[in-house]
Amino acid sequence: MEYKKTDRSALQTRKKKKAVKGNYQEAVTVKRILIAVAILFLFFMLVLPLILIITEALKKGLSTYISAVTEEYTVKALKLTLMATFTAVISNTIFGLIAAWCITKFKFKGRQLLTTFIDLPFSISPVIAGLIFVLTYGRNGLFYGFLQRVDMKIVFALPGIFLATIFVTFPFVAREIIPLMEAQGNDEEVAAASMGAKGFTIFLRITLPNIKWGLLYGIILCTARAMGEFGAVSVVSGHIRGKTNTLPLHIEILYSEYQFMAAFAVSSVLVILAVILLILRNLVEWRAKKNR
């Protein structure tokens, strides 16, 4: 009797072991398949387009590439793109900090509504973002009479491009730092304020060091999106070469004129900028994790 019992239990453990081993082997196969699927998908969707841009750009040799990249209109477009990016990043960073302070340091009615409004540009098509500025400041627009009187042009001019870029990248910084400041709470700030510190000192000495990585992360995302904005800027720009043409718009013009090599050469400049931003993004994320 005794003997049989142990025999049975031994059999059971053997069965269990077999099952576990089977599970393990199944897991290894599944793992290999999943990794292969992920890598293949990313290779075809992400890596191949990048390789294509570089090969197309260098198709006619390095010297043609350099002359395409240093062509007058390309350089002017690059300057405008950098200007628009700079304006959008600066104003949205300052706004993001102010809005985050207001939303996380105080409890008031309408807080949720404010956060929803800040997120609004995420769910609006870039083309519609451009459209609303045409409707506001363009001919027949809300402020057209006033703009005429002060002799100012917004649509089909630089201010329109800046406004559209700001609109599209509006939420990025605020979105990154609001949850961060919310999570950190207000204890340190309250202590500092009770001891008589001024608002700006509290911000510089206490809040900023706590959120600096998140802030940097938001700024990088904002820069990336501002640099590449196409739809919204396309609506308000008017496409005047050398004046209101940003780099992404310049690429479209080159491409539609069948200057494929030049289009890809200019694209490669933006690819390089994008890759630099991605590397920065990863560095910041890594630092932020390390600091935590």
């Binding site: 699927v37 998908f41 387009p49 008031f108 627009g141 509006f170």
Partner: protein
């Protein structure tokens, strides 16, 4: 607006600046769409917003965005899973690459994908051999939207997978659950909410996307024309009413969709907690 008294200074000024900036950049410009629509006659509006060609363009936009978002859910979950759970070479590189579609300007992505999937392109010529056309078809539009949407699902799912308690999974395996059962009963319920978030973000972005699609779609009326492109071409003809009518329909649909997704998320969360 009322608040509890706080010792931290700067409430009034930060609130004032926030509301002012928000109004100038977002609320006032956005309200012009509603003013413009209100100024139109009902007949005029209906004719502009629901013309046959416009209806077809909505269809193309929604269908392709929906399909692309679904494809992204499948691959996005797989990619997030692989990055969080497994060790393999170049994992860090792949993790860093996921955000490329976000950092790459849409017009650059557009011309690259169009060339890649055109009849003489590297992938387009292969597809053509099995009788499928890539660029200038609905498939091309969907491919562009898949490209744009990759980061949304992966980045929504990834943090949730990282937080997931491995103990529960191990327990389920110990109790004799198969790998698939474990996935279905233990992991899937947790993933539902982030997957929905990622799906709705990718879908919303896909409906409105212009830059990457406009090159690859070919823009044939009643075939591969998308709604944002119609807004663009109406604007080029200075038909502001027509453009606004389409815009307001798109805005309403995407808000309704976001609302719907949020409701589902709240429902499922409650269901899980109960």
């Amino acid at each position: 607006m009322t608040r509890k008294t706080s010792v931290i200074p700067g409430f009034k000024i930060t609130l004032g600046i926030t509301i002012a900036y928000l109004s100038i950049i977002i609320l006032i410009p956005l309200s012009t769409i509603f003013f413009k629509t209100a100024g139109m006659g009902v007949k005029e509006f209906l004719a502009a917003a629901f013309d046959r060609r416009v209806l077809h363009a909505y269809g193309v936009s929604f269908f392709c965005a929906f399909t692309a978002a679904l494809i992204n859910v499948i691959f996005g979950v797989i990619i997030a899973w692989v990055i969080v759970r497994y060790e393999f070479p170049f994992k860090r590189l792949i993790d860093g690459m996921i955000d490329l579609p976000f950092a790459l300007p849409t017009s650059v992505a557009g011309i690259a994908l169009t060339t890649l999937f055109s009849e003489n392109g590297w992938l387009g010529s292969i597809l053509l051999k099995v009788g499928i056309k890539g660029s200038y078809t609905l498939l091309g539009i969907t491919i562009a939207l898949v490209f744009i949407g990759i980061p949304f699902v992966t980045r929504s799912v990834q943090p949730v997978l990282e937080e997931l308690d491995k103990g529960v999974e191990e327990a389920s395996l110990m109790l004799g659950a198969s790998g698939f059962q474990k996935f279905r009963k233990v992991i899937l319920p947790e993933l539902l909410s982030p997957v929905l978030t990622g799906f709705s973000l990718a879908f919303a972005r896909g409906i409105g996307e212009y830059g990457s699609v406009v090159f690859i779609s070919g823009n044939k009326p009643m075939k591969t024309e998308i709604a944002p492109l119609l807004i663009m071409s109406k604007l080029e003809q200075f038909d502001y009413e027509g453009a606004t009518a389409i815009a307001i329909v798109m805005l309403l649909v995407s808000f309704l969709m976001l609302l719907f997704m949020n409701l589902i998320r709240i429902k499922t969360n409650r269901f899980l907690k109960a």
